[in-house]
């Protein structure tokens, strides 16, 4: 186990360095450079003024020097300033991150609460109406664009039934938990449906595999009640596979949050990122992308380690 843990933990900083290189390159990919892109066509600077600005921001340095300087600042907690608000990027992100994390967590709860029971029903009662319903959900859930589902939910539940605020929005959890839930339930449902479909399909497939194994047949042959066979023997092994997909799904939740926050006007990190993109606020774009990718890397590492603990076979592969 120690060797497995070490292997996972050694690859973590290497991946994070790679993530930082790609994030750094996003802004350096801009045709021309960040300064001319930021100024747009409305501001005309002489070549001398431009080169002075490039020197001021360090853009005249070789790429690796620029990267190391940028990385050094990030490590010290300085991700620059937002050109839109004038605030430090870290402050902007710190204000928005909890909202996105709450949304992602709520969506994950929706996904697991819907996906696991549907997957189990589908595997335990094949070719029945509940199975057909569950499989239909698995197909449609994956095909539903979350921005469309969100728009339809707003249309029906806000404008026709008045069950939710018309304009979307967000209330802090600590300030008013009931209002927070009212604002968050539909964005969470929107974000969670596709993940629920993935969880349903994975649960179904894993349970069908486990239910066909010899030890389950033996448990049945010993006369154990069907419920006990499922709960005590099949479910444990079936759920291992579901845990492995959770790490990947964290990425879906964090990426999908960008779209869902826009639809429901939730003031999270995704919305901050979109505004920053439209206003060419590159320091915020870089900071936001780096934070989300870092969270994803950590989530995947945690799931990998967890997986190693739950299933000893993994440690030796």
């Amino acid at each position: 186990m120690t060797a497995y843990l070490l292997k996972r933990l050694v690859s973590l900083p290497l991946t994070l360095v790679g993530v930082s290189v790609v994030t750094f390159l996003f802004v350096r990919l801009i045709p021309g450079d960040a300064i001319t892109a930021r100024l747009g066509t409305s501001t005309v600077l002489s070549p001398e003024q431009l080169s002075r600005m490039r020197a001021f921001f360090g853009l005249d340095q070789p790429l690796h020097v620029q990267y190391l300087a940028w990385l050094g600042s990030i490590v010290r907690g300085d991700a620059g300033y937002s050109v839109r608000s004038g605030q430090p990027v870290t402050v902007e992100i710190a204000g928005r991150l909890p909202v996105t994390l709450e949304l992602a967590l709520a969506a994950a709860i929706v996904a697991l609460a819907l996906g696991i029971p549907l997957g189990l029903i589908s595997a335990l009662r094949p070719s029945t109406v509940p199975d057909l319903f569950a499989r239909g959900f698995g197909l449609l859930g994956l095909a539903l664009p979350n921005f469309w589902l969100g728009t339809l939910l707003i249309l029906f539940f806000a404008r026709y039934l008045h069950w939710m605020p018309n304009t979307g929005g967000y209330v802090d959890l600590l300030a008013d938990p009931a209002a927070n839930l009212r604002f968050l339930i539909f964005p969470a449902l929107t974000l969670g449906i596709a993940m629920a479909a993935v969880v349903m399909r994975t649960t179904r497939s894993a349970m069908l595999d486990v239910l066909g194994t010899d030890y389950i047949r033996t448990a049945h042959a010993k006369g154990l009640p069907a419920r006990s066979v499922v709960e005590r023997h099949a479910l444990k092994n079936g759920m291992i596979v579901v845990i492995t997909i959770l790490g990947i799904q964290v990425g879906y939740l964090l990426g999908g949050a960008v779209v869902v926050e826009e639809v429901f006007a939730v003031p999270g990190l995704g919305r901050l990122l979109l505004n920053a993109i439209s206003q060419r606020d590159y320091a915020v774009v870089q900071g936001g992308v780096l934070v989300i990718a870092t969270l994803f890397v950590f989530a995947n590492t945690i799931v990998d380690v967890l997986y190693g603990f739950i299933d000893p076979r993994i440690r030796f592969t």
């Binding site: 728009t151 249309l155 989300i292």
Partner: protein
């Protein structure tokens, strides 16, 4: 040289699979509409007709008119063209780049394998939508840049999917035999290994196309792909959102078009996987 998986690629077996047939039919309709849009009796998708502003579905306008009085049916059909163009181009980029890198990594092994796959791991460390968003943010909102972005995002998936079977295939007897006969590495890869990857690649392409349709629609919904007045499903849905209370059809039909396209590719992918790799059935 015999290839063990090519024998499974049989049209008859594909037609016996319900999911694959339904998926194929949906995809075929979209491809037909995308290619034949110019020859179909449709209105100009960008022509503004004030009298048709927010008009509901009728005989003359089967899916109604949008907020500028443009024919929604025509815009959805032309939207299929844009969506399929972007998806097919981006998946082609990912297919070529990812397959090339996966073949190289798997066949060469050693530090080449390590270098390529660690680079792929880094791209995998980004949520797909976020990586695409970051690339489009840097390059600018344009369908061409969306093609590049989605291509980059899906390259590591193809590389991983290809590398694993290459590791096993390069140890097989028929590859040893070819090597013994003096075949060069490039010939072994192209003539003997690549044909054995066809079934894996066909399934992966179908699944990647469904993701690409969704990602393109998401990016255009966020204003990062085609710009108005272009007929793009995501743009249409975003426009429709503004007047959803007065004209719900503006939000319903473009979303349905996206969902059906994704469903078609997903069903086709599932069906192909069942037919080409029965071990993965379910």
């Amino acid at each position: 040289m015999a290839s063990s998986t090519r024998e499974y690629v049989s049209p008859r077996r594909l037609l016996e699979n319900k999911a694959a047939v339904i998926g194929l039919a949906i995809v075929a309709v979209y491809v037909f509409l995308a290619i034949g849009a110019d020859w179909l009796p449709l209105r100009n998708p960008v022509q503004i007709v004030p009298a048709n502003r927010l008009a509901g579905p009728s005989w003359s306008l089967p899916l109604g008119g949008d907020s500028f009085g443009r024919d929604l049916l025509s815009r959805i059909v032309y939207g299929a063209r844009l969506s399929l163009q972007v998806s097919a181009s981006s998946v082609s980029i990912a297919l070529v780049a990812g397959t090339g890198l996966g073949l190289l990594a798997g066949y060469a092994g050693g530090w080449v394998d390590q270098g390529i796959m660690r680079a792929m791991d880094v791209l995998f460390a980004f949520p797909a939508v976020l990586l695409a968003l970051g690339i489009v943010a840097a390059l600018g909102p344009d369908p061409k840049n969306v093609i590049i972005a989605i291509g980059v995002v899906y390259t590591p998936i193809f590389a991983r999917v290809v590398r694993a079977p290459v590791l096993a295939l390069k140890e097989r007897e028929f590859v040893d035999a070819a090597r013994g006969l003096g075949a060069r590495a490039s010939r072994i890869i192209v003539r003997h290994i690549l044909p054995n990857l066809l079934s894996v690649l066909v399934v992966q392409v179908s699944i990647a196309l469904s993701w690409a349709v969704l990602t393109e629609a998401s990016l255009s919904f966020l204003g990062l792909s085609a710009q108005p007045p272009a007929a793009s499903w995501g743009v249409m849905l975003n426009d429709g959102r503004q007047s959803v209370e007065l004209a719900p059809h503006l939000a319903i039909f473009p979303g349905l078009a996206i969902m059906l396209a994704v469903l078609g590719f997903n069903l086709l992918g599932d069906g192909l996987r069942d037919v080409l790799d029965p071990r993965l059935r379910r």
